[in-house]
């Protein structure tokens, strides 16, 4: 009897398709670039690993990458967990809208986040302009440009919504009865925290902190655009070694190093995720605030979100509409025409259409493959192949974009695989990056389906298709929708691998922003394009949020 879920797909295809896909579009290019880098003349050269240990420069880079990720993670947790508590406990106006909007930063591409922060705190940024006008200063009072502080703020901005969502989602579904019981038994609030709440939350706190650590460890755009040249994470150094110095062996060594570290992190994460008990809807424990302290906590949380999350986005919008202190729509109007010596053969606005199409294709691919992989991983036959597949699916998260980009260049430029300039390679590369998110969104939902449901279905004589469509799909639809949100937004924001694949006649929004930022005198257009990306993300997000109704997603 085949209990395996995902029964819609013929059993053999479910193995062949994902493995073929990952082999052809991920393993093959990766092997190609590592082979080229580490065996330039057919002889394996591993001197780079020794350099990595002996050279202070690389040791410092590794150390910096690590501790900035630890501090970023700590700061994010300190701010986000109390907010999650407030969200769990209290009912207040616009709570769900706020939560939906708060997710926006997480789905924004780093280029835009970095641009938004620059628009906020630059010498000519919103805050400084405001302060200078208000207090009649002649020098900008806020000097955060190219400081570590700014990097930390941006990392918190990015990851706060993630932790808030994960912890709130978990906490809100915990039964309130344990707490009631312990209160009746006379537990004071200190004991309530240390003996009841925190132990209950430990797996989700661990999982969310690990995820933030992984994201900030591999931070690229934020460091590159906001940190100036002084700070380099491994990911930035890989880019520097590969693109600027063309030192492929060193780039490969650093790349492998990063993969190992992130894989360890992902492995821990997967374990923690497994120990998180499945969704347990007990009805909301939230109530209206009673005391002044409770009210203040709510105001504090909303205020924090407004300052941290919405100010930079607000600054972005304002700056995109301002030229030399005057209101203008010029930057938006420019997007409709092919500028003088433009990087692209089409008006930049075309990129919106391209991005939405690529996003749609990515979402479709990632969902189909994600469903197959999730049901494979959920099958009860535990074998070694599945363990490898699990790691393989997560690997793109650990792979530096420039490494993958170079892999594509080498792998798909010589016959018979001359695909380098094919447009469909772009959504395929996005699918690789989106796949880990999709699998991790669907898997918990699949795991939560009680087995008897299937047996009942079979006994009633419902066929494979019917069981999938009528029993399984409704139960995992929330997970699928969460996965779809991730896939679409990852595709919209991806610019690392796209940089190597995008053609001049089919640019994506993120690439247009990146190119505008790199060119002379097109900063305003970059801001305008960022605002458009923001709007497209917000629309996609709100549509999917609607569909999702009230559910809990992981990741």
């Amino acid at each position: 009897m085949n209990h395996r879920l995902g029964g819609i797909f013929p059993p053999r295809l479910i193995y062949i398709i994902p493995i073929a896909f990952l082999t052809l579009f991920f393993v093959y290019p990766l092997v190609a670039i590592f082979d080229r880098s580490l065996r330039p003349d057919g002889i394996l050269q591993l001197g780079g690993f020794i350099t990595l240990i002996t050279n202070a420069y690389y040791r410092d880079t590794l150390w910096f990458t690590f501790w900035q990720a630890v501090i970023s993670t700590g700061l994010t947790m300190i701010l986000a967990v109390p907010s999650a508590f407030v969200f769990t406990r209290y009912q207040f106006p616009f709570k769900s809208t706020l939560l939906a909007l708060a997710t926006l930063p997480f789905v924004l591409p780093t280029v835009v986040v970095a641009t938004a922060f620059r628009a906020l705190i630059d010498d000519n940024g919103l805050l400084n302009t405001l302060a200078m006008t208000l207090f009649a200063l002649d020098r900008a009072p806020i000097q955060l440009e190219r400081t570590l502080t700014l990097i930390f703020i941006a990392h918190v901005f990015y990851n706060y919504p993630l932790v808030l969502r994960m912890v709130y989602g978990y906490w809100a579904n915990q039964s309130g009865r344990i707490e009631e019981a312990s209160r009746l038994l006379g537990a004071n609030s200190w004991r309530l925290w240390t003996e009841i709440r925190l132990p209950l939350l430990r797996p989700i706190l661990g999982a969310s902190a690990l995820l933030v650590f992984i994201f900030t460890f591999t931070s690229f755009g934020v460091i590159l655009i906001l940190g100036g040249l002084r700070y380099a994470t491994l990911e930035v150094e890989i880019y520097n070694q590969a693109m600027n110095l063309f030192n492929l062996p060193m780039a490969a060594v650093l790349s492998l190093m990063q993969m190992v570290i992130i894989l360890i992190g992902l492995n821990l994460y997967t374990r923690l995720q497994r120990s998180i008990t499945s969704v347990n809807l007990q009805g909301s424990v939230a109530r209206a605030p009673h005391t002044i302290a409770e009210r203040l906590a709510i105001i504090g949380t909303v205020g924090l979100m407004a300052i941290l999350l919405f100010m930079p986005l607000f600054a972005l919008v304002i700056q995109s509409l301002t030229d030399k202190n005057e209101f203008t729509l010029r930057f938006f109007a420019d997007l409709a025409t092919i500028g003088r010596g433009s990087s692209f053969n089409v008006p930049p606005l075309e990129a919106v259409k391209n991005s939405v199409i690529f996003g749609g294709i990515t979402t479709t691919f990632a969902l189909i493959l994600g469903l197959m992989i999730a049901s494979l991983l959920n099958s009860h036959k535990k074998n070694r192949l599945l363990g490898w597949l699990d790691a393989l699916v997560m690997l793109p998260l650990a792979t530096s974009a420039v490494t993958l980009g170079f892999g594509f260049i080498i792998g798909f430029s010589s016959p018979p695989l001359v695909w380098r300039t094919e447009w469909w390679l772009i959504p395929i590369s996005h699918t690789l990056v989106a796949l880990p998110f999709v699998v991790r969104s669907i898997l918990p939902a699949l795991r939560a389906i009680p087995k008897p449901i299937h047996e009942a279905g079979m006994m009633l004589g419902v066929g494979r298709w019917g069981r999938w469509y009528r029993l399984e799909l409704p139960l995992i639809s929330k997970g699928i929708l969460v996965g779809a949100i991730f896939a679409f937004t990852v595709s919209l924001g991806e610019f690392g691998a796209s940089l190597f694949l995008v053609r001049n006649d089919m640019p994506t929004i993120s690439i247009v922003i990146f190119r505008f930022l790199g060119r002379a005198g097109t900063y305003g257009q970059a801001l305008a394009m960022s605002v458009i990306l923001l709007i497209v993300s917000a629309i996609a997000f709100l549509i999917l949020e609607r569909l999702r109704a009230r559910g809990v997603g992981e990741f």
């Binding site: 100036g228 040249l229 693109m243 600027n244 063309f246 010596g341 430029s413 010589s414």
Partner: protein
């Protein structure tokens, strides 16, 4: 099942390969800031019954690196704009097919760096020089030499580009190496260390430096590494009086570095003959005279006429610095690493 799967893949591959082969197109790979008038390109298209496609990659470094990774299966037929700081890397990796254009007769010999093998052809050149904000300095009060930059008078005033990611940034580093040398009492690294103590700011690229930090564009640094022709571009684009440009270039001896840019036929092109015609065209006066006001560098063809703006108002260095391009390739990584450790850490 397996057979169907294999068949489908083969079929798809076939369709994609056929779809990519259309009419004759000559693809020029270049960097993002390449610009030439449409009329000039149209003329070449009409004369040769061909479509010219300009493929702009992010910058010269990306262009060279990607081409090395795909040598023999190039993205295009011609590469435009590899300069003397990247030349050796490109030549070592056998990126180009040799071609000796008859128009080289009009090109000064000192610009022809590959004059024995003709794998690349010089097409334009320019000088990387310090620029100053004319509202804060006059030609007399601006720094007169590189050493002046370490003077406390110019504290917190200079913004430069990361030589690892920016070509004017690298040119400026090379200028300091040419002036101070690698050995002796006061090496280029001593100079950079003093410069760092004097508050030099290093940013990623030219536009970050010029449009982000230079006082003329609203920043806080009145000295910037740019080009000798940048003041002309300021006047031209902002329609200002050329008598009173908002910026000035410092062109004293031992301050500017010469960049020569080349065009080459990519190894593996199916359109070699057409590519040769394009190189001839790029050296012809029609194309060459279009260069100065579009890319703000100088034509190599000595018969090409310069626009009036250049003839009347350009201040160009008489003796720009250079370094041997093979030496640059040999030592570039070492220099960049030393620079990063001195200035950034």
């Amino acid at each position: 099942m397996k057979k169907i799967f294999v068949f489908a893949i083969v079929l798809m591959m076939g369709i994609f390969t056929i779809a990519t082969q259309a009419q004759t197109t000559l693809t020029i790979i270049t960097y993002d800031s390449f610009y030439i008038s449409d009329a000039v390109i149209d003329q070449f298209e009409a004369e040769n019954d061909v479509t010219v496609e300009i493929l702009r990659l992010a910058d010269a470094g990306v262009m060279v690196n990607e081409s090395i990774l795909t040598v023999g299966n190039p993205l295009g037929d011609v590469m435009y704009g590899v300069d003397n700081t990247f030349l050796s890397r490109a030549l070592e990796n056998e990126l180009f097919l040799a071609y000796e254009s008859p128009l080289l007769a009009d090109v000064p010999e000192e610009l022809q760096l590959d004059k024995d093998e003709f794998r690349v052809t010089p097409v334009q050149f320019g000088d990387v020089c310090l620029n100053f904000d004319a509202s804060q300095f006059t030609a007399e009060t601006a720094p007169q030499s590189l050493a002046d930059l370490t003077d406390p008078r110019y504290q917190d005033m200079l913004v430069v580009q990361n030589p690892a990611s920016s070509s004017p940034g690298l040119a400026f580093l090379l200028a300091t190496i040419a002036v101070f040398g690698e050995e002796g009492d006061y090496t280029y690294l001593d100079f950079w260390s003093d410069l760092a103590d004097n508050g030099v700011l290093a940013v990623a690229g030219w536009s970050e430096a010029y449009y982000g930090e230079f006082t003329v564009a609203g920043g806080a640094y009145p000295l910037v590494v740019s080009y000798a022709t940048s003041p002309l571009a300021e006047v031209f684009y902002n329609e200002l009086d050329p008598e009173n440009p908002p910026t000035g270039a410092i062109v004293a001896d031992e301050t500017c570095f010469r960049q020569i840019e080349f065009v080459g036929i990519l190894n593996g092109t199916p359109n070699e003959e057409l590519a040769q015609k394009f190189i001839d065209f790029a050296l012809s006066p029609t194309f060459q005279e279009d260069i100065p006001l579009n890319m703000w560098v100088l034509p190599v063809n000595s018969t090409a006429e310069l626009p009036e703006l250049y003839l009347e108002y350009a201040t160009l260095p008489e003796n720009p610095l250079t370094l041997d391009y093979t030496l640059i390739e040999e030592k570039r990584d070492e220099w960049l690493q030393a620079w990063a450790e001195t200035v950034l850490r």
